[in-house]
């Protein structure tokens, strides 16, 4: 007679070992991430969304047999229509490998998928990283007093009169008087009004609760002119993804504003931000200018921690350079961090742009000496992680 038990515990027995395993393949995951994240949508997912990352896992070293080109292996066929010389499996020369079913001892190339939730991703990618130091300072000064009702008291000022509670007290008193009268066999006079007594009145007790701002708004700004290739946008997207996940990890509430620009800037949504390609030139300054406008209308810096990240391929109309540096600096002054990132894939920059021109804008930005204004260069998807860590204080 068998016993049947329902599994009761909700504890995930493999959680700890899986976490440890993921930690060990952190490097492989990070490398795998840059391939995957550019495909991922940046916004709109909670921490439980899982990303599947293909990894070449850590080898477990055991004594095993080698390829042994002369050695014979055994197989079985479903029918007898087999013949000597027939190909069972293609060799490595053909880039193919064995069909589905392999026995457990095949050491093969172990590529499998590791599922990571955004929470986990954030945890061990970002744990050692910090928001810019300035942020902590700012947090202390962005305090808005929040008033909160906390109970009632019997004395207070007129505006704080809690009418509902007072009414309740009056009814209680009336009921008591009526009972009293009944007990003493007195006539209860039906009164039209049972007036309030001072003792009935109740006033709200107010407490001052200082509130820290735990909101962040991120401005993602990108050049969407014709010179921005798909590859460059791919790198930008990976960068933006990490930035978003990190900031979201640190703040309770994060909003994003997508600003795309050519010679004009416009606010847009994520889809169009990455897919729209406009023709025409580039005025980088327009993006920060629009960001500043939006900030003054919707995201006042006393209530919001503002981050701004601008990605371009460095290609700006020279006459705009001064303005670009100015507006970027202005933006950085109201933000926790503003970063200007040039993405230049080696060998692909426009031939007509001289080296001096390429660096002109960056020099101007540098000369502003903005504490919160950072300058980065990305040349490939692999750079993304390095640059990202450098921004937030991790070792490279």
């Amino acid at each position: 007679m068998s016993i049947f038990r329902e599994h009761k515990t909700s504890a995930d027995r493999s959680a700890s070992d899986r976490a440890r395993h993921k930690k060990k393949i952190e490097k492989a995951i990070r490398e795998g991430i840059t391939d995957i994240i550019a495909e991922e949508s940046i916004i709109g997912h909670d921490g439980n969304k899982k990303i599947k990352i293909p990894v070449r896992g850590i080898k477990e070293w055991q004594f095993v047999y080698g390829d042994n080109e002369g050695q014979k292996k055994a197989g079985a066929a479903p029918g007898n229509d087999i013949s000597q010389g027939q190909v069972v499996r293609k060799g490595k020369q053909d880039q193919g490998s064995g069909s589905g079913n392999k026995p457990g001892n095949d050491k093969g190339e172990e590529v499998y998928e590791v599922e990571i939730s955004l929470e986990e991703l954030a945890e061990y990618l970002f744990d050692s990283l910090q928001l810019p130091d300035l942020e902590k300072k700012k947090l202390k000064t962005i305090l808005s007093d929040r008033t909160k009702k906390h109970g009632v008291k019997t004395k207070g000022i007129r505006p704080r009169l809690d009418k509902k509670r007072s009414a309740v007290e009056r009814i209680k008193r009336k009921a008591a008087v009526t009972r009293d009268a009944a007990d003493n066999n007195e006539e209860v006079e039906e009164e039209e009004a049972f007036p309030f007594h001072d003792n009935d009145l109740r006033y709200s007790n107010i407490k001052n609760k200082p509130k820290e701002a735990t909101n962040a708004v991120i401005f993602f700004m990108m050049d969407v002119s014709g010179s921005m290739t798909r590859d460059v946008k791919f790198i930008a997207r990976s960068f933006f993804f990490l930035l978003y996940q990190f900031i979201r990890y640190k703040y309770e509430k994060t909003e994003i504003v997508f600003i795309a620009h050519t010679t004009e800037a416009f606010e847009t949504d994520e889809g169009r931000f990455f897919s729209r390609s406009e023709s025409g030139g580039t005025y980088i300054s327009t993006a920060s200018k629009l960001a500043l406008e939006i900030i003054s209308k919707r995201y006042h810096q006393s209530a919001w921690n503002i981050y701004a990240f601008h990605c371009t391929d460095g290609d700006n109309w020279p006459e705009d350079n001064d303005k670009a540096a100015d507006t970027l600096f202005e933006l950085s002054e109201v933000s926790q961090m503003t970063s200007y990132t040039e993405i230049i894939i080696p060998g692909t920059s426009p031939a007509w742009q001289s080296d001096i021109e390429k660096n002109a804008l960056i020099s101007k930005i540098k000369s502003k000496n903005g504490e919160k204004l950072k300058i980065n260069r990305l040349t490939s998807a692999q750079d993304v992680w390095q640059v990202f860590r450098a921004l937030f204080g991790g070792e490279i």
Binding site: S14, D17, R20, G70, A74, A76, Y112
Partner: protein, 435 residues
């Protein structure tokens, strides 16, 4: 979640057990645990043990199993039962009713095998779950001990895993060092050696490498010895399952087939059962399906020699002796067994060499035997200790080792031995040293 209740499962179990008993099966009582998919994958990562020692490799195993099941699996889906008394088995709630019935019948076959096959006689099924739980607790305490910590524990376990299955699989009677010495002195051939003080240590090759390290490594601390012994005893517990995989799956399949055909199932269960059965037992190209192989051999034995011999076989054989005894040319041809290789050319296509005709069937049989019963695990033994150098040898059977893996294993053994380690093997017909 499912369209059947626990009570329904219980009543099916009663029917299945009745039929099994009448057939003569004799099994450990089974304790079924219901679980969901993730718990199932989790349990599989720990070989079905309710408690298991912690290690990242089980996390990896989880990810791999999960990936595999996402992309189409092998074998009977989600069957998991352990060699214990009572036998703990898992039923995944997402399974439909016919599959649960099939799995329960299949489990009875396994439990009967665990109970009766003599390869398992020293596995102490009554206490295994307690042993594993205790081992887990101790390793957990070493991890939490500030003077040890997870990195050191992990490094040692990683190293032990490298030689986990280099154990004494022949289960010979172990002579003591004194007995060996006595025999040594008796043998006249050894007089020269005795005179010149050239008595080899150890006197005889030691196939249980972990044991050798345990007994001869001078610098091991208590916690290290404990971990080595835990892993070693775990290997001895699991090895019988490796040695009898074909027989065990064949036996369980043989009986799930028989039992389900006797249950008088309605079409809604019977048809999908047949479909699943055929799927699980189909031959895999290019590899051997143990379910297929074992099932066909037991069917053959019953056909030709009667059911009694089946019961006897399940008691006394392991995969190697089982195949040696019962795999003849007729069966090989029936199963369309063949051999294939790269014909000695690196990275070439794998093409068929021998078929199971009169000419080639012996080759096929050899190749099959080479891949079962743990024969795909290289045999490495301790040959000698010279000074502080540990000398290992690979018992070469015609198959070369993978050098990269061997190299890393030797590195790992050094971490335990803490002195030089050399491994002698043969690569492409020439002597080779890994150190």
């Amino acid at each position: 979640m499912s369209s059947y209740s626990l009570e329904e499962l219980e009543s099916w179990d009663v029917k299945i057990s009745e039929i099994a008993k009448n057939f003569g099966l004799d099994w450990y009582p089974i304790a079924y645990e219901t679980c969901d998919y993730f718990e199932m994958i989790g349990n599989m990562s720990y070989h079905g043990m309710p408690s298991f020692r912690p290690h990242w490799s089980f996390g990896k195993s989880f990810e791999r199993t999960h990936t595999m099941y996402n992309s189409g699996q092998e074998g009977l889906p989600y069957e998991l039962i352990i060699n214990s008394n009572p036998s703990i088995a898992y039923l995944m709630l997402e399974n439909s009713l016919y599959l649960q019935i099939l799995i329960m019948a299949h489990c009875i076959g396994h439990s009967d095998f665990f109970k009766n096959n003599r390869t398992f006689k020293d596995t102490d099924a009554e206490h295994v779950t307690l042993r594993f739980r205790s081992a887990r607790g101790r390793i957990q305490s070493y991890i939490e001990d500030p003077s040890i910590g997870i990195d050191k524990v992990e490094e040692l376990i990683d190293a032990c895993h490298s030689i986990q299955y280099q154990i004494d699989r022949r289960g010979r009677y172990r002579k003591t060092e004194d007995e060996l010495l006595a025999l040594f002195y008796e043998d006249e051939k050894n007089i020269e050696k005795i005179k010149n003080n050239k008595i080899k240590f150890p006197l005889e090759p030691e196939f249980d490498i972990l044991l050798f390290l345990l007994e001869n490594c001078k610098s091991l601390r208590d916690w290290e010895k404990d971990i080595i012994e835990i892993i070693r005893s775990e290997s001895y517990y699991f090895f019988p399952q490796i040695r009898t995989k074909v027989m065990n799956e064949g036996w369980a399949s043989f009986w799930h087939y028989r039992i389900l055909n006797n249950l008088d199932l309605a079409d809604e269960h019977h048809l999908p059962f047949l479909k699943t059965h055929n799927l699980v037992l189909r031959p895999w190209i290019g590899a051997l399906n143990p379910y297929h192989l074992g099932f066909e051999i037991f069917k053959k034995i019953e056909r030709e020699r009667g059911i009694e011999e089946c019961f006897l076989a399940r008691e006394i054989h392991n995969d190697e002796s089982f195949l040696m005894q019962y795999l003849d040319q007729e069966l090989a041809a029936e199963l369309n067994l063949f051999t294939y290789s790269m014909k000695g050319r690196k990275d070439a296509d794998w093409t068929i060499d021998d078929l199971s005709d009169e000419e080639g069937w012996q080759e096929c049989k050899s190749a099959v035997i080479n891949s079962v019963a743990g024969n795909s695990i290289p045999i490495i033994f301790v040959e000698e200790v010279v000074g502080n150098v540990l000398i290992l040898k690979h018992e070469h059977d015609g198959r070369d080792l993978d050098l990269n893996y061997a190299d890393n294993c030797v590195k790992n053994i050094k971490k335990i031995w803490k002195n030089p380690v050399k491994l002698f093997t043969i690569i492409e017909e020439e002597d080779f040293e890994v150190s």
